[in-house]
């Protein structure tokens, strides 16, 4: 059982590196969908009754189907293909990813000095996923990429909840509420066609070009 968990956590961490390195947003969304699908496998490994299987179906449909599909829809609407001017470049991001991994290993050792080895490894990977999400949020400028970063961050929180082996249903219930926020963000993009987020000086770049200055 533990081997399966470690396999899943490792695959998710490798995916984090893929997400840090790729500039094509639709590629990012594909990886995100795959990551969501793999994360939902955790709930089926934990499942003991019908409720567990229902949870699996629910998480799978949200993380692997609904989020990626709506994000792709938003991508078509806002006409974005690539993250053109990231604040931190893609190869530098990868190096930062390695640093984050080392940092999260150090942090999880610090927090869980009396835990077992498996738990420590799981904790490392979940903290790594959380920080990867936060890093993507701060280092990218497109609104969609920021939402992708937020979803990665949320996946990390889900992994963390599983690491602590707190009652599954609490994590699922609280996670749903967090998912609602993602929906708000995505629908913000879809409804208002937010393309690029900038600091307050350059607010004109927030809207799509054809909505700008129509008399």
């Amino acid at each position: 059982m533990n081997n399966w968990f470690i396999l899943i956590f490792t695959i998710i961490s490798i995916m984090n590196f893929l997400l840090l390195a790729s500039s094509r947003i639709s590629g990012c969304i594909n990886i995100l969908a795959l990551q969501g699908g793999i994360i939902s496998l955790i709930s089926i490994l934990n499942a003991t009754n019908l409720w567990g299987i229902l949870t699996f179906v629910f998480i799978f449909s949200i993380k692997a189907l609904i989020f990626p599909l709506t994000l792709k829809h938003a991508l078509r609407l806002t006409n974005t293909r690539r993250e053109i001017e990231p604040i931190i470049g893609f190869s530098t991001s990868c190096i930062f990813g390695v640093l984050i991994l080392v940092f999260s290993y150090w942090l999880s050792n610090k927090i869980s000095y009396h835990f077992g080895d498996v738990l420590k490894l799981k904790l490392t990977f979940s903290i790594f996923t959380i920080f990867t999400g936060l890093f993507i949020i701060i280092s990218r400028t497109k609104a969609i990429t920021q939402v992708i970063g937020y979803i990665i961050f949320e996946n990390g929180i889900y992994l963390l909840g599983n690491t602590f082996l707190i009652k599954e249903n609490i994590i699922v219930e609280l996670g749903i509420v967090l998912d609602l926020l993602v929906f708000v963000l995505i629908s913000g993009i879809v409804i208002f066609r937010i393309n690029k987020t900038f600091d307050h000086i350059n607010a004109s770049l927030l809207m799509k070009d054809d909505q700008k200055g129509v008399s």
């Binding site: 959380i130 949320e154 707190i166 926020l181 963000l185 937010i194 987020t197 927030l206």
Partner: protein, 488 residues
């Protein structure tokens, strides 16, 4: 009764969403806010029972914060009725950059306003760790459309910033929740209500509880507007309509502050409050200094008020982190005074905005001639918020300084007084500019001030000054009881 307090605004919100006529909607809004105020006053006389297995309880802090929020909401409603009945909806206007915008549809706006009130009352009554988290998150949902009232580009950007930064903060506080659950895993309690947690707090794993506290203070601190995480606050407060800014600053920040206060109370019971208090004092001092330095170059008078909110929340957090009972009393009193004063100021800033149509301080000239009454309220509010003697903030700041000296944190006292002096100087300087600069063109035109737009701001300011002259004994006893039990 608790259920009623939450359901009245939410149901009112749903009804007003489906109503066609604007006047009916405004009627629903006023009735709901009046009922809410009456109910939250009644909670002091009839102790409401807990419901949902003890998840919702109105304890002493909750009652106080609920009453404060309900009062502010009522005052903002009075202002909003006058404001909304004069706003022409679905009409395209042009902003300063030549961008066409219209205001958001009134049904969405009023229903979200009422639901916002409902979610804030949910924060005040929730007694469960997860429930508190959900309700604080729900306030973000409900307030996002309120910030995006004028569909301008800058308000869209402010809303995006608000939702994005607060979402990350809320995610971090969920991590805090997970660590809290882990800390209490083997402590002998299965329920995660604040009552049972603080009872079993001594059995909790101290190290993990401390980690949880850090995540909580960062997460909820984002909503409170503590310094490194405060960046959403000035733009959201500046872009929202003025009565919404007064609600955001006067009520929403308090709700998140209540969250931090409850977590700090658990740490207090667990005996690690000295360690956690240090973090709070650091963040608070940093907030005050950041606000002071940002105030220098501020040309927008609504952003000026927003930075002053950052400052006062910082002071309240410092007081809550000192760990003395008297300091917690002072902190809660400070929150009350700040809410009243700041709400009054934002409402009068709305009057100035609707007269001059600009938020830039340099474009506001001879304020006392154009707006005789509002300018008086504005000046009184600015003096009160700077902590000049007759206002309540002076008293509470004095109390907080006394507690800082009692705990021998002289360095904090020096930094804090430095920040306060800078804030006082730059704020007064900017306000004087608004009064005594002249513009030859429009000197004679006097703007007609509406009665309903002045009364709420006047009443709120009056309460602040009353609290400055006398502290009612009953109120003091009540707050002392809170700080004796600290939290519960």
């Amino acid at each position: 009764m608790i259920i009623l307090i939450i359901l009245i605004p939410i149901l009112g919100g749903i009804f007003s969403f489906f109503t066609r006529k604007n006047n009916v909607r405004l009627l629903i809004l006023s009735i709901c806010s009046l009922l809410h105020l009456v109910l939250s006053i009644l909670t002091f006389f009839y102790n409401p029972e807990s419901c949902l297995n003890g998840m919702l309880i109105l304890d002493k802090v909750g009652k106080l914060f609920l009453l404060l929020m309900s009062f502010l909401f009522f005052m903002s409603t009075i202002y909003a009725i006058s404001y909304l009945s004069n706003t022409s909806f679905n009409e395209k206007t042009r902003d300063n950059d030549g961008f066409i915008f219209d205001d958001s549809p009134q049904n969405i706006f009023i229903s979200m306003l009422l639901i916002f009130c409902g979610t804030m009352s949910l924060v005040c009554v929730s007694n469960h760790v997860g429930f508190l988290w959900i309700s604080i998150e729900a306030t973000t949902f409900a307030s996002a459309p309120l910030v995006y009232f004028y569909h301008t580009r800058s308000s869209l950007e402010a809303t995006w910033k608000y939702v994005m930064i607060c979402s990350v903060g809320i995610g971090l506080s969920l991590i805090g929740n997970l660590f809290l659950m882990l800390a209490f895993k083997n402590s002998g309690t299965n329920e995660l209500t604040f009552t049972s947690i603080s009872h079993y707090a001594l059995n909790a794993n101290k190290m993990i509880l401390f980690t949880a506290f850090i995540f909580f203070v960062i997460g909820y601190g984002t909503k409170v507007g503590l310094a490194p995480m405060h960046t959403w606050l000035p733009s959201a407060h500046a872009e929202a309509p003025s009565f919404i800014s007064s609600l955001l600053s006067g009520a929403l920040l308090n709700c998140a502050f209540l969250g931090i206060l409850r977590i700090q109370s658990i740490c207090f019971h667990a005996g690690i409050s000295e360690k956690t208090g240090k973090i709070m004092i650091f963040l608070g001092t940093f907030s005050v200094l950041t606000a002071a330095l940002s105030m220098f170059s501020q040309n927008d008078y609504k952003k000026m008020l927003a930075f002053s909110s950052v400052e006062h929340m910082g002071i309240a957090i410092i007081a809550a982190g000192l760990g003395q009972k008297a300091a917690i009393t002072a902190s809660i009193l400070h929150i009350i005074n700040h809410s009243l004063t700041k709400a009054s100021l934002f409402l009068s800033s709305g009057n100035i905005l609707s007269c001059y149509r600009t938020k830039n301080i340099n474009d506001v000239h001879s304020l006392n001639k154009k707006l005789p009454i509002s300018s008086l309220l504005w000046l009184g509010g600015i003096f009160a918020i700077c902590g000049l003697p007759p206002s309540g903030l002076f008293v509470t700041e004095l109390m907080i300084f006394k507690e800082i000296f009692v705990t021998r944190k002289f360095f904090v006292a020096i930094l804090l007084s430095l920040g306060l002096v800078i804030l006082f100087g730059s704020m007064i300087f900017k306000v004087i500019e608004m009064y005594f600069s002249h513009d030859e063109k429009n000197e004679e035109i006097i703007y007609r001030e509406k009665f309903l737009k002045i009364v709420p701001s006047f009443l709120l300011l009056l309460f602040t000054f009353i609290l400055g002259f006398t502290l009612p004994g009953k109120l003091m006893d009540y707050i002392n009881q809170i700080s004796n039990n600290f939290g519960l």
